[in-house]
């Protein structure tokens, strides 16, 4: 269900975005467009500004310049809850579930703007998508394992059927054996038509699951291309993916 960036109107359009923390500017004139259903990986060295870009898109920090449009609507001035209502899901790297709430309550909060029947239906849908969560609906989220928390964070963000979901390091803190399962789940979102923008340190592995990737360095977009093309570029492999040749 992935759209074509060349022809489909983007679901998320970022133009000339500057952002940072106080006086410290991290992002410089970032341009990115994400097509409906497209899965995009942001990768690059530490300090490249990947997580800052995700935070700026989620309006956890306020951009100092540039324009972001979600489904054709400018996001400037929108509060985070209004952004969620407009179709943006956000899964932060850490503290991404409500630890004192049960799994079911976390999902209910994800669907807080849905009508009661629809919310219950979506919780059932999430149970089918993540059977591990269905077994633990009444368990406190704070007692879940790292992998289960990531599943819950993803499921919570998916509850309102967002147009775009922003994932900040979904494999962080997860046992290596579970990382591919997390990426499988993210790749599985194609079936829902939800676009994904994901930051991931484990870029080499993540590239195998996404449609397109954006290389960031020094707060700027260095290049964008299809994931397949980037996986086969020896220079990218050697410099950014930790391989001596394309794999």
């Amino acid at each position: 269900m992935s759209g074509d960036p060349a022809t489909d109107p983007p679901v998320l359009q970022v133009e000339g975005l500057d952002a940072g923390y106080g006086d410290l500017q991290i992002l410089f004139a970032v341009d990115i467009a994400v097509a409906p259903g497209e899965q995009v990986l942001l990768f690059g060295p530490n300090g490249a500004g990947k997580s800052t870009l995700i935070k700026a898109l989620a309006r956890q920090i306020v951009p100092s310049a540039g324009r972001v449009q979600l489904n054709g609507r400018a996001t400037a001035g929108l509060a985070p809850e209004a952004l969620a209502a407009a179709g943006l899901g956000y899964v932060p790297q850490v503290a991404n579930v409500f630890t004192t709430l049960s799994v079911r309550e976390n999902l209910e909060i994800g669907g807080v703007r849905l009508a009661g029947r629809r919310r219950r239906q979506r919780i059932a849908d999430m149970g089918e998508l993540f059977p591990r969560l269905a077994e633990r609906l009444d368990q406190r989220a704070g007692t879940l394992s790292g992998g289960e928390r990531q599943m819950l964070a993803l499921a919570r963000a998916l509850m309102p059927e967002p147009s775009v979901i922003l994932l900040d390091e979904p494999s962080a803190g997860i046992a290596p054996a579970l990382v591919s399962r997390i990426f499988d789940m993210v790749a599985g979102l194609r079936a829902t038509g939800t676009s994904v923008v994901m930051v991931e340190q484990n870029a080499k592995q993540a590239l195998a699951y996404v449609d397109r990737a954006v290389l960031m360095e020094g707060g700027r977009v260095r290049l964008q291309d299809s994931a397949d093309a980037l996986l086969h570029r020896a220079d990218i492999g050697a410099l950014y993916l930790g391989t001596s040749s394309a794999s």
């Binding site: 989620a58 956890q60 509060a79 985070p80 809850e81 952004l83 969620a84 209502a85 956000y90 932060p92 503290a95 991404n96 579930v97 409500f98 630890t99 004192t100 709430l101 309550e105 209910e108 909060i109 994800g110 807080v112 703007r113 919570r156 963000a157 309102p160």
Partner: protein
């Protein structure tokens, strides 16, 4: 030990504990969502008691006067918070704390100006206590315990069953995450202020019943005991506040009866210190 006297003390302790527990829940709810301790909270207790007295004086039956007062003080709490606290919410804790202390004095003196400084009483009819197996159980104390139990059950239902209650718990858990998940934070904040002030008003009404009299400083004086219950239970935890309130109430009454009535409320703080030494985050700290 005289068993009847002990049981009688327990009844008084449960009534006081219920009063403290209800009051503590209101304070801890607002702390959980706003992350600052509202020093004007005691004035919601005072306003609740005086509004009830005024409405009862105007001819309303006492329970109806109490119910109307609870809603009225809840609405006043929303208005006060919107005017005094909301504009300062992003300016750090100190301005909020100082404002809440100043607000406490303003409200306290407004009540004194309107109603006078002399202690007053609810127009309760004289009622013979029930005698149960040789223990005299005052009906006012039983009514206080019953109202406190119903109030705590309602708070439990709100927090565990309603979407509003779950949203309040989500904001208390992680406000930024709750907002990015779509929770309308301003609406949840307004609902929290309403509930906090309304529950405080109910606590004030129960306090006026258990302590027999009401005066303009009653809420301010009682605030310290309510703090003790909140901290003992674990700040920010409504269930901890309920438990803390009951423990403090029982401790105060048992200490007053068996050790010294002069130091009745000091026992609340002895209990608090002992619990915090063993569990620095309170009995239910870290849970909601």
């Amino acid at each position: 030990m005289d068993l009847n006297a002990f049981l009688q003390t327990l009844v008084y302790g449960l009534a006081l504990g219920g009063t403290i527990a209800v009051s503590a829940v209101g304070l801890t709810l607002s702390y959980g969502v706003t992350r600052f301790i509202n020093f004007a909270y005691g004035e919601f207790l005072t306003l609740g008691a005086y509004a009830t007295l005024a409405l009862a004086g105007a001819g309303l039956a006492l329970p109806l006067a109490g119910a109307v007062s609870v809603v009225a003080v809840g609405l006043a709490g929303v208005a006060i918070a919107r005017l005094a606290f909301d504009p300062l919410m992003h300016r750090g804790l100190l301005p909020l704390l100082v404002t809440s202390v100043g607000l406490a004095f303003v409200l306290h003196n407004m009540v004194r100006m309107v109603a006078g400084a002399n202690p007053l009483r609810f127009p309760l009819p004289l009622m013979r206590p029930w005698e149960v197996a040789g223990v005299f159980v005052p009906r006012e104390q039983v009514a206080t315990i019953a109202v406190a139990l119903v109030a705590m059950a309602l708070v439990h239902l709100l927090l565990s069953r309603s979407l509003l209650g779950k949203s309040m718990r989500a904001v208390a858990d992680d406000a930024a995450l709750a907002r990015s998940a779509g929770v309308a934070a301003p609406r949840v904040l307004a609902a929290t202020w309403f509930l906090s002030a309304a529950i405080g008003a109910l606590g004030g009404i129960l306090l006026a019943v258990t302590q027999v009299t009401l005066d303009p400083a009653m809420g301010w004086r009682f605030l310290l005991v309510v703090f003790a219950a909140v901290l003992l239970g674990g700040i920010g935890s409504p269930y901890g506040a309920m438990l803390g309130g009951l423990i403090v109430g029982l401790g105060v009454e048992l200490g007053a009866t068996y050790v010294s009535a002069d130091y009745a409320y000091a026992f609340a703080f002895v209990l608090l210190i002992l619990v915090l030494l063993a569990r620095p985050r309170g009995l239910m700290g870290g849970r909601t």
